[in-house]
Amino acid sequence: MGMEQQAFLLENIAPFDRLPLTQRRKIAANFDVLYLTPAERFVPKAPALFLVVKGLIQESQNAEVVARYSEGSYFNEASLLKNTARLAGHYSVVEESILYRIDAAVFQQTLEAFPQFHAYFYASVVQKLEALYLSRQQLAAAEIMMEPVYSTPLLGLVTVEAEASVAKAAQQMVAHKTDACLVVLPLEHPARPQNSHAILTSTDILRFTAQRQSTPVSADTTPALTLANWPLYTVSDEEYLFNALLKMTRYQIDRLVVRSSQPSRSGDYLGFLHLKDLMAVFAHQSTLVWLNIEQAHSVDELVERSAQLDKLVATLHAKGIKVHYIAKLVSELHQKLLRRLVGLLLPEDLQNHVALLLLGSEGRAEQLLRTDQDNALIYADGLNAQQQQALIEFSDAFSQAMLRLGFPTCPGGVMLNQSQWRQSHQAWYRQLRVWLEQPTEAGFLHLAIFADAQVLFGDADLLQSLQSLIWQRLEENPLFLRHFAKGAMQFTTPVGFFGGLVTRASAKGAVIDLKKGAIFPIVHGVRVLALEHQIPHTNTHRRIKALMDIGIFSEEQGVELGESLNYLHALRLDAQLRGATQAEPLGESDLAVADLTHLQQDILKQALEVVKQFKQWLQLHFKLRDLL
């Protein structure tokens, strides 16, 4: 038949892409072609699946737009799957369209003959998401990022006894062509039993050799143990290389000890993963530039390095890396950048007397692109006037520098250069009591922001005591949390009774607000639960994990919530990246439904359903009906 090109078209459309070419050809041979003009109501004459070749079709139910189908998407499958015409939506032609019609009989035959095709239409949201990530990852199959640790060359494992001399350890290392070795910790060693081994690296030996000039000691007599370091930082051999890199960045180390994940050899050490080998693997990634933030000596140099950040995010996202991981890397790098910035700007004598906090999404480590500065400063009680003046100057310089690094100022003024967000420990204590004991809308908002605080720089104890205060006060006054939880209900989730998307008209066509209707309820709901159960994590995924661990969430509920949040963030990032390249960006959190493929819309609907269920769950948990 002549429908060769049409069979190729199917190759790019899920789930037709999982059919063999012969079946795709067979389907294509059964295409009829329909040409429709705008404003026309489109009523299928007989049960069939329709594939949009060009144009835009809108489906509505009870005068509510439930979906839009553009090039490469298909519709009307619901009436075929359930085999009832009643489920067919009302279709109208928004733009002049060309459709292919696939006869119901052909569709049924394909469903029956190909289990994978069948499974697609009956899969759960988690399964569909996995399939989506998989397909994106397949696009970047050559990309090493998501390869497991065991796919890279490891340096051989060398272990020496506790009594071994430095010289012996060095010989062993040379013999095994490696630059580090493990030293067995003796049983009576103070670091036991938490640590079984310490690590001795070539750098340690180098330092030792350089030091010898002043105090002559022999490598033959010095025990290796005196130079070694612990604890060991390890990584499972099945972990993604990406996460191994994160770990090295986080602890500022060059080597990770790789441990086996096989049940039979669980915990056995296999060898060393060295940063330079990892870097060779990542060679083409702009990540490299990022790792030498530490070497920047001026704000200008930092500005230069930060400029590449958004590009990095776009690259990683296009490669199908889960947004959760991207956010982790980006937060890690942001923090490094900002920590370096504080180091450059804050006078050294003050560095031990303050805690600089990241708040909001940055504090939760969920920021992808640079958004508003949300930060605060706690300083130790009893600083003199001169020191306080120095802090004011630092705060102004810091906010200015952040602006140059691409973080816009916060319209709500949640920044350390505002006096409300730069206070002494005592003053903060009083401030929090006001927020907790005299609830107001503004107080709720501020507390929500503060609850996500993470110490970027300085004395973590300053924050910890304030956090204990919050937990203690909330325990004493459970009604507060119930009112606080109401916030998660304040925006309706844009999913209709029949599971369709509820859109809002805008200049860009039908849009939905993902942030208010979907992301915020999850983030806030989880935040309130974390406060209730005194979970110290700020990241929503980690909070969900902790809530699963203590049995508040069932395994299934937690996974579904986390995956849905991931997906919503990914869609938002998509929209933001698209907005960044277009002359007219959408409202910050608006998502144009027409930009989504059929599969994306489908998963979005299910993700929103998860949000809706979570809200209902919160309502029960906090007995919100009695309050409203």
Partner: protein, 215 residues
């Protein structure tokens, strides 16, 4: 004049040699169109032969491509290199066809049964009809009585409507790809009888709708 000229040349059922094909003279069903396209050995309809013919029925605005007719004809001579450059059907490609290669008469019999009394639609359809009639006329004694519509002509008239109240433009780009581009229709790959017929059908559908809107 043109009308009388046409009337004189109209095929008559009494000249039909085989009464099995009387259905060709049944009154045309309004809204029943067959869009077709041939790839041939050359551009002279008197001497060149059809290699492949594709026909699609258009009914109530729907292009019934699933019931398309695709015919491949046996060639007594090798296809000339110049025409292979146009349609890219090589001699060996003929051997790869799934169905049998048909004789000219078998092919036309299938084609005539397919079109029945439908209005024929094509791009420079006169040429394709001439190719068909080269076979049909000696065999059945008649030329095709079916009404015909040429999309290039329809397109020209569509463009000409804009000029009534404006400055006359003497030339309209009537190349197939230009018409597709101007009407914003996807080019599915040209010079394959099936795709050509399909795209011609799309052009036809769109021009019809555009015509409707003006009424």
């Amino acid at each position: 004049m043109a009308f009388w000229h046409r009337l004189m040349k109209l095929p008559k059922i009494k000249s039909l040699k085989d009464s099995n094909y009387a259905f060709l003279f049944t009154p045309t069903v309004p809204g029943d169109y067959v869009c077709f396209d041939c790839e041939s050995t050359g551009l002279n309809p008197r001497t060149d032969r059809i290699i492949t013919l594709s026909a699609l029925r258009i009914r109530e605005g729907e292009i019934l491509s699933s019931q398309a007719l695709e015919l491949w004809l046996a060639q007594p001579q090798r296809i000339a290199p110049e025409s292979i450059k146009v349609h890219q059907i090589r001699n060996q490609d003929l051997q790869l066809q799934e169905g049998p290669l048909l004789s000219e008469q078998e092919a036309m019999s299938q084609f005539l049964h397919f079109i029945q009394g439908a209005t024929l639609v094509g791009y420079y359809v006169t040429f394709d009809i001439a190719l068909v009639e080269r076979i049909v006329q000696p065999w059945l004694g008649v030329r095709l009585p079916n009404p015909r519509l040429d999309v290039s002509e329809l397109y020209y008239r569509h463009k000409a409507k804009h000029w009534r109240h404006g400055i006359y433009q003497s030339s309209v780009d009537l190349r197939f790809s230009a018409i597709l581009a101007d009407l914003q229709l996807p080019n599915l790959g040209q010079h394959q009888a099936f795709n050509d017929a399909l795209m011609t059908a799309l052009i036809f559908c769109k021009l019809q709708r555009l015509g409707d809107e003006r009424c």
